[in-house]
Amino acid sequence: MILVMTNIESVPGKKIVEHFGLVCGSTVRAKNAFKDFGAGLKNLVGGELKAYTELMNESRKQALERLKCQAENLGANAIVNVRFSTSNIANGAAEIYVYGTAVRVE
């Protein structure tokens, strides 16, 4: 069973038959001190901080994984209205919160 995720109110072409309510996943991740140091050096000349882009991707994946896990436990086969939210708790750490509505589609 593949879990479908969308950030609109429905799954296009399918009808929602059951609602399960809010599901969410969050994570806070950081890179090791060496990568932080490297990023600090990169700050001198500017440009992309690849270590942190990687960090963002990892955090996003983990948060989505937790979201999916929660939805599957409820017996849902789709999540609609998915939203990402970010905040900064600590320097050099990425916090991602993802939430949505678990539903069952035909």
Binding site: V4, M5, T6, N7, I8, E9, V11, P12, G13, D36, A39, G40, K42, N43, L44, V45, G46, G47, E48, L49, Y52, T53, L55, M56, N57, R60, L64, V82, R83, F84, S85, T86, S87, N88, N91, G92, A93, A94, E95, I96
Partner: protein, 142 residues
């Protein structure tokens, strides 16, 4: 005195290397935007054509862009005076456009990307910008 020389060197390196990196980045962004312009991205959810749909998928992309030392110093001075801080505008612009491009790359062959949302935060302190773009990629039945 030694501190002043060090600062001058950092600002000079930041200015010359930073400007080059930014120009190169903008060139690459424009080129990729041209290549990927076939897939429309919209911020609403009512742009679907009346065709049978094969799959729907959540796609996302992110980028972390940092400012150089020169911009940091100039930004600090501009903050003192107030008004438009043009040095940081390009930073946000680059991060967002890069994030949208990466999101598009995650959906090869998609017919349309609905409901684009952009989110920003800071990871590496004050002088960097991190953008996250996400949307729903829709593939029509061929």
């Amino acid at each position: 005195m030694a501190d002043l020389i060090q600062l001058a060197i950092f600002v000079a390196i930041g200015y010359f290397v930073g400007t080059r990196i930014e120009k190169k980045h903008y060139r690459s962004i424009k080129e990729r935007e041209k290549n990927l312009s076939c897939c429309p991205v919209v911020t609403g959810d009512d742009f679907l054509e009346d065709k049978p749909i094969r799959t729907t998928r959540l796609v996302s992309g992110s980028a972390v862009i940092s400012s150089d030392y020169f911009k940091m110093i100039v930004g600090g001075l501009l903050n003192f005076i107030g008004g438009e801080m043009s040095v940081f505008e390009s930073l946000l612009d680059r991060a967002r456009r890069e994030a949208v491009l990466r999101m598009k790359l995650e959906a090869p062959g998609a017919d349309i990307i609905l409901n684009l949302r952009l989110e920003t935060s800071t990871i590496a302190g004050k002088n960097s910008c991190e953008a996250l773009a996400y949307g729903t990629a829709v593939y029509y039945q061929k």
